[in-house]
Symmetry: C2
Subunit: 364 residues, 2 copies
Amino acid sequence: MKYNRYTLVVLATIILSSFSVDAQKKQAIVIQDQGSFAVGGSVVTAPGTFDPIKHGAFNPANQSSEGQTLHGDHAYVFYQIPDKARKLPLVMWHGYGQFSKTWETTPDGREGYQNIFLRQRFPVYLIDQPRRGRAARGTVGGTIAAAPEDQLWFGIFRLGVGNEFYPGVQFSKDPEALNQYFRQMTPNIGPIDIEVNTKAVSALFDKIGEGILVTHSHSGGQGWMTAVKNKNIKAIVSYEPASNFLFPEGQVPETITYAGGSLRAVGVPMADFMKLTKIPIVIYYGDNIPSQPVENPGQEQWRAALTMAKRWAETVNKLGGDVTVVHLPEIGIKGNTHFPFSDLNNVEIAGLMSNWLKDKGLDK
Amino acid sequence: MKYNRYTLVVLATIILSSFSVDAQKKQAIVIQDQGSFAVGGSVVTAPGTFDPIKHGAFNPANQSSEGQTLHGDHAYVFYQIPDKARKLPLVMWHGYGQFSKTWETTPDGREGYQNIFLRQRFPVYLIDQPRRGRAARGTVGGTIAAAPEDQLWFGIFRLGVGNEFYPGVQFSKDPEALNQYFRQMTPNIGPIDIEVNTKAVSALFDKIGEGILVTHSHSGGQGWMTAVKNKNIKAIVSYEPASNFLFPEGQVPETITYAGGSLRAVGVPMADFMKLTKIPIVIYYGDNIPSQPVENPGQEQWRAALTMAKRWAETVNKLGGDVTVVHLPEIGIKGNTHFPFSDLNNVEIAGLMSNWLKDKGLDK
């Protein structure tokens, strides 16, 4: 049998194509640069003079802060710039009780948004907000309770109720996945201070320039606030924003009450609000969010949030903005928890985000 | 002017060579796999039954731990496997008041051991020990003081005394470098528990198999203890080990007292001690460690540690071990702080480690 050059090219193409699924999965990530830094924060100086001879030993019984400084309240950032990088980096900001791990390996050991978007040639910056994870050094002390509360978060994060998973939930039933999931909860090291947090993340955008902010839950509202502070935020992708929806003063909607709590909107001057109409924003919510009141507070909180998010989108869009709210079950994607980006179908969820970025011309 | 083919090849070689220094600096790191996980730890379960309706809302005034679990006391690991990886990974464990940042970007913004050794094709695992950084979730609570103590650590970490750098110290005088350095200090989240820590790191070696442990300061002594627990630790590189030197019971040397404290050796059964004679170990200490007592506690602690390390090496080697203690100024390398791996000359310091790994056949 003889092959001409054309035949060989076709054959080679077929052979390469047959390997492409597996090859894609195991393809290397080519990193042009990676590293970490602290950004933002403040410095406290205790009065007096430090005496390095008298107080220079590590000895808790003979410690003195006199004349010493404390550097704290910064955010901590780990970044990776892939080869042939796209222009706008993705800056990923975790939610309440979480840290940068949110975006790394999923609880069941698959790739999270960090790797998925590096493979799509986006620079990826992972934030630990002030007083959390690797940014634990705050200027204000605190007490860590170490109270058992895994099942509380199992409910609020909508894996299920008590210890029972929702039917069809996009979460692995391997016990090790739940073990890893519970271990990615992490305490607040000192009080949460939204002004401290948004200042630090704004300082990050001052340092790196223009980028796309990706938020989750508690960082959703903080994300709107940071975008008001910093023009370098060119777009926001927000997963299940939980609180701090900003409305123009005088147009703040009624507080939404629900089983277990209430969700209050926040008024800001019109000039600040208008900044949110200048950038494209997409918001995603997962499954098991009821449309009518139920008795389970773990679901109720998200009924309130989704209701508020829709009102917010209407208000921003009426004033010329570009906010899209995607309730995943409404487009046929079922079973997602409060963490769609690490759920079993996270490649599909990432695909939605990629398409949105492309539609908005943010993937150049 | 005419060129034949040979001339062109020579010219091209010369041109490529002239770019090689810059190219080397900016060469991409090819990552076959990267990710993160929690390892080790324990689970606490509060008595009673969790009621998801009554206690399922995030509401500090109505919280209850009844029937809930707490997953804590794990270590947290971020790993990267480079292309064409060498067989034995480097597992890097930070010291007191520090976390995985120790091994990442240096305070002055250059590459740290993470990138340096990835470029040498070693798999690199960075640990946050239990109750520190990304492994903050412990099973025991605690109080964070947020006390100013930067100058205490400036002294103990041997950058200088008070706020004055030592002459010739291998640390950038750019104020931003010191800012970053102080911000890589991080509090203990709950009490330090050496048994918890060494169990978690041993669990890591159970998971990943054979590897080389790289320790710093407080993890030095914990490293010996973990090597006693786990045969998968095939070698140890220890920077400025500070405490917990293990000796055979009955051969424990005298406690070394110094200005500001004392250093006590630890006795272990001979069978445990002998495990430390089966693996190659190298220890490095930097500069500004006096050979005779001085009044500055920031230096004295290290005079004690270096003295103890030399005694320890003698004891291990007498029983068939292979411990090398390198006091850097004695081989002509001056100005190093307590963090030689991130000092201005860290490429040279890494070179010593690479050569040692090669000499011991650990870089296959």
